[in-house]
Amino acid sequence: MRKFLEIINTLDRRWIFVFIGLAVSLPLFFPIGIKFSVSHPVQGFYHTIEKIPDGSKILMSCDFDPGSMPELYPMTITALEQMFRKDLKVIITCLWPAGPPLVERALAHVGAEYNKQKGIDYVHLGFKEGKEVVMVSMGASIPNTFPTDYHGTPVSEIPIMQGVTNYREVAMLVNISAGYPGTKEWVQQVQSRYQIDIVSGCTAVSAPEYYPYYQTGQLKGLLGGMKGAAEYEKLVGIMGLGTRGMDAQSVSHLMVFAFILIGNLAYFILKFMKRKESV
């Protein structure tokens, strides 16, 4: 018993990596189909978009890069699906420099599926440096802040941008956020000034920071990490990357939980045994 506990206490961390690797890999090959329910913040995200009248213009800011792709790309895809199903016109911006290629990829995928046309049903305005300054500047004029789209076409020649001057002409803001600049800055700079409805899809790391904004109603909905993405996919009715990753997510969490439990038990039992021996 004691020897076993000592082995646990001094276990090479690489063994833990092996177990975590297996916990993540096996459910990908042998799906379990663990059931999960949809939380209130996710319902808020979905219903806020659903309430927008069909054909309205929506601003979507994709503030992420490949580093957070597994969590945020599935949300982007699902949000585009929901918006295109409602025939909403989507104006997309990026405040992260490596974001535009991911947006192009998502648009190519979902836009083609729904036969949406560039410039008419959606426009990708690309990346603009300036963080909060860009957000404030868009409040004065979106066409002045983004004079051309991602492909260099002047916004004055893009049909979807006709009549769009600032936040007043968009029904709401969908933000997909990996950190700074992201949801926090959109709430601080835009929601509080222009009273525009904002929903956010964010990485799980940032979610605890954004829950207070949901509690106060500054955010109308919140998707936290891959779990949030999976719940959202369930509501929209698609089997996406979020749902497919949930089994692996759940099993790996159980594995981490088991390691924490076993490690702590081994530590305290061993400590108790040593104390008893010294007495």
């Binding site: 909060e132 929601q191 799980a204 990753g245």
Partner: protein, 207 residues
Amino acid sequence: MSYQTLGIWIGALFTLCILSFLYKDNPFYKFAEHVFVGISAGYGVALQYHNVFLPNLWRPLMAGNLLMIIPLIMGGLLFTRFFANISWLSRWSIGMLIGIYSGIAIIGFGSGDLVSQIHGNLLPLWGTDLFTALNNWILTVGLIACLVYFFFSKEHKGSFGVVARMGIYFLMISFGASFGYTVMSRMSLLIGRFYYLYGDWLNILPQ
């Protein structure tokens, strides 16, 4: 081999190079790390040149907008940091940047965080359904306890100390929740990489 396939292979090999660090530090990991840093820096410079310098400064200036001389000079002053005897000139530009960002951040924090969060935490403790009332009580008690914990002008003793101690427990619970979310986030990244390796690269995942 198409460019797309080549891209997938390069991505997969670099992923394996980075994952090899889990065993121990090695030349493959270092190679991938250096390539990543180099490409990121190059991409950043090229992006800033094409996305910021040309459209925001150079093209308007060439089109005859003489006001653009001011940001040109202010931007140029930043480079005086490379010359010790005139490096003080860069402080003007830095001062302007700090001033603008501070102004924007303070207004945003004041209206978006401070006022809204205080307003959002003034909750009814009676007269709602039991579950909402319970939640509001927990939030209010937690808020007061945490504020007391961060009040250092009075020694944490007696009943004041008890409330401060409660504040620690609330903080610990919030740290635990944050850690749980962090684990979830990191696992998601790992799942994403494994999806890429098994799916996009090896194509052995069940459909």
